[in-house]
Amino acid sequence: MGLAKRIIPCLDVDNGRVVKGVQFVDIRDAGDPVEIARRYDEQGADEITFLDITATHEGRATTVKTVEKMASEVFIPLTVGGGIRELEDIRRMLNAGADKIAINSAAVFNPEFVGEAAAKFGSQCIVVAIDAKCVSAEGEVPRWEIFTHGGRKPTGIDAVEWAKKMVAYGAGEILLTSMDRDGTKNGFDLDVTSAISESVHVPIIASGGVGNLQHLADGVTKGKADAVLAASIFHFGEYTVQEAKQFMAGQGIEMRL
C-alpha cells in the first residue's frame, strides 16, 4: 500500500495537431490531441504530458484552446510544456486547465525564472525539463551535461548539479530526457536517471528511449524514477497503457490498476 508509480503518455503537438504519428486502429482522427488524450485516459494513464512544439504566435492561441478542451474532458493531471518563457505563459496555460507546467530552455537561460514561477504559482506545478547527454568517454566516471535546442547545443552544465540547483530554486518535479536514448527504443539511460533521482528529493520522470515494457519497469526499479514517460510505444498501439501497468505490477511495482 502506498503511492503508485506513474505512466505518462506524451503528446507532441504542433499547431493543435499531434505529430510524431499516432496510429490507433479504431481512432477517427489520429491527429486530434483531445481524442488521443481521452483514449489514454480510458486506458488508465496516470497523467498526460502535452509538449507544444508550435513555433508561430497564431499557433499558440490554438494550443490554449486545445489545452482548454482537453482539460474539460480528461480528469487526470495535465502537464504542458514547450515554449514557456514568461510568467504570463504559465498563467495562460494554468488558466486553460493545465495542472503543471514544464520549463526547459528558459530555465537554462535564466534560472531565476524557475524561482519566480515557483514563488508565484507554487512548486507543485513547476516541472523543470532537463535534456541530458553523456559527455564522459568510455572508462571514465560517467558525466552528463545539459543540452538545449533539442539536444544540439551543449551548455557545459553538469546535469546532476543542474537538477539540484533547479530543485533549490523551487522545481517540484524533474522531467529528465536522455538525448542519447531519445528515439532509439533502447531503453532509458538508467545511470543518469538514478544519479539524479538519488540526488534530489522531488519526483523524477524518466524519458527517452522506451521500446518495450521492460524498459518502463527498469526505469522504476533500476533508474529509481517515480514516473515513466513514453510516446511511440503507446502511439503506435504496440501496447496499451493498461498492458504496461499490468506488466509493471507483475514485477512488483506499485501501480494504479
Binding site: 500500500m1 502506498g2 503511492l3 503508485a4 508509480k5 506513474r6 485516459d41 496516470d46 482548454e68 482539460a71 474539460s72 480528469f75 487526470i76 493531471p77 494554468l94 488558466n95 486553460a96 486547465g97 493545465a98 495542472d99 514563488a119 504559482f121 507554487g122 512548486s123 507543485q124 506545478c125 517540484g172 518535479e173 538519488e198 528529493h201 522531488v202 519526483p203 523524477i204 517515480d226 514516473a227 494504479r256
Partner: protein
C-alpha cells in the same frame, strides 16, 4: 430544482479543472466560479479549492473578506474543501515559516520532511505526488458512496493536516507514516487530494457531493 454550486475564486491557480469536473458530473447544475460573497452565500453548495503556497492563499482569502464568507457557508450548506482549501481551514501551518490559518478546525499543517522513508528504508520523494490509496474511516459517509475502500486519488502536496479531534477523520493515507487525507464534520467534507484530477473515483466523489444534503 436546479442546484447551484459556487467555486470560491481567490485568484490562486487553476479553478478550471474543478469547475469543469463539476459540470461534467452534474450537467444540469449551475457552476459559478466567483469571489463574490453574495453569490457564494446564495449558492446551494460551495467548493473551496486551493493550490499554491499557504501564506499567499490565506492572505488573499482574508484580503477579499472570504474568510467571513467561508465561516458563514460552513454553518449552512454542503461544503467541500480541496487541498490548500482544506489546509487553510486549520489553525496553523508550518509552511512559509509559519502561517496562522482560518482556524475553523483545531489542527495543524506540517511538512512531510526531506528524509522521509518507507518501511524498507527507501527514500520517499516530497512533494507527495501521484496516486495514493485512501482508506475510508467514516465508511458510511454519503460522499464515499459507490467508491471502493482504498481507491486511489491524485495527490500533490508537501504538507499534511492533523486534527486534534480524531472523530473528524474520514480518510487516511500512508506516506512514510499514516496521515489524515480526509476530514468530515456535519455538512463539511475536506480532502487533501484533488477529486477533479482523480478520474473515476474523483468524479464519483464530486457527483456524490452534488447530490449531498449535507447530512453525515
Amino acid at each position: 430544482m436546479k442546484t447551484t454550486v459556487a467555486v470560491i475564486d481567490y485568484g490562486m491557480g487553476n479553478l478550471h479543472s474543478a469547475s469543469k469536473a463539476l459540470e461534467h458530473v452534474a450537467p444540469d447544475a449551475t457552476v459559478v466560479v466567483t469571489a463574490d460573497s453574495d453569490t457564494i452565500l446564495a449558492a446551494d453548495r460551495v467548493v473551496f479549492p486551493g493550490v499554491g503556497a499557504i501564506r499567499d492563499c490565506v492572505g488573499e482569502i482574508r484580503r477579499l473578506g472570504l474568510d467571513q464568507v467561508v465561516a458563514e457557508a460552513i454553518q449552512q450548506k454542503p461544503f467541500l474543501a480541496i487541498c490548500v482549501g482544506m489546509q487553510s481551514m486549520m489553525s496553523h501551518s508550518e509552511e512559509n515559516d509559519g502561517v496562522d490559518c482560518l482556524d475553523m478546525f483545531d489542527g495543524n499543517v506540517s511538512f512531510f520532511g526531506e528524509a522521509l522513508t518507507d518501511t524498507n528504508g527507501q527514500l520517499l520523494k516530497v512533494p507527495h505526488m501521484g496516486w495514493n490509496q485512501v482508506s475510508q474511516v467514516q465508511a458510511k459517509h454519503p460522499l464515499w458512496k459507490g467508491i471502493d475502500d482504498n481507491s486511489r486519488f491524485y495527490f500533490v502536496h508537501s504538507y499534511y493536516v492533523s486534527v486534534k479531534d480524531p472523530t473528524l477523520v474520514a480518510g487516511q493515507c500512508e506516506y512514510g507514516f499514516p496521515f489524515t487525507s480526509v476530514i468530515a464534520k456535519d455538512n463539511i467534507f475536506a480532502v487533501q487530494f484533488h477529486p477533479e484530477k482523480s478520474q473515476h473515483a474523483g468524479l464519483k466523489l464530486l457527483g456524490n457531493f452534488m447530490n449531498w444534503d449535507g447530512q453525515s
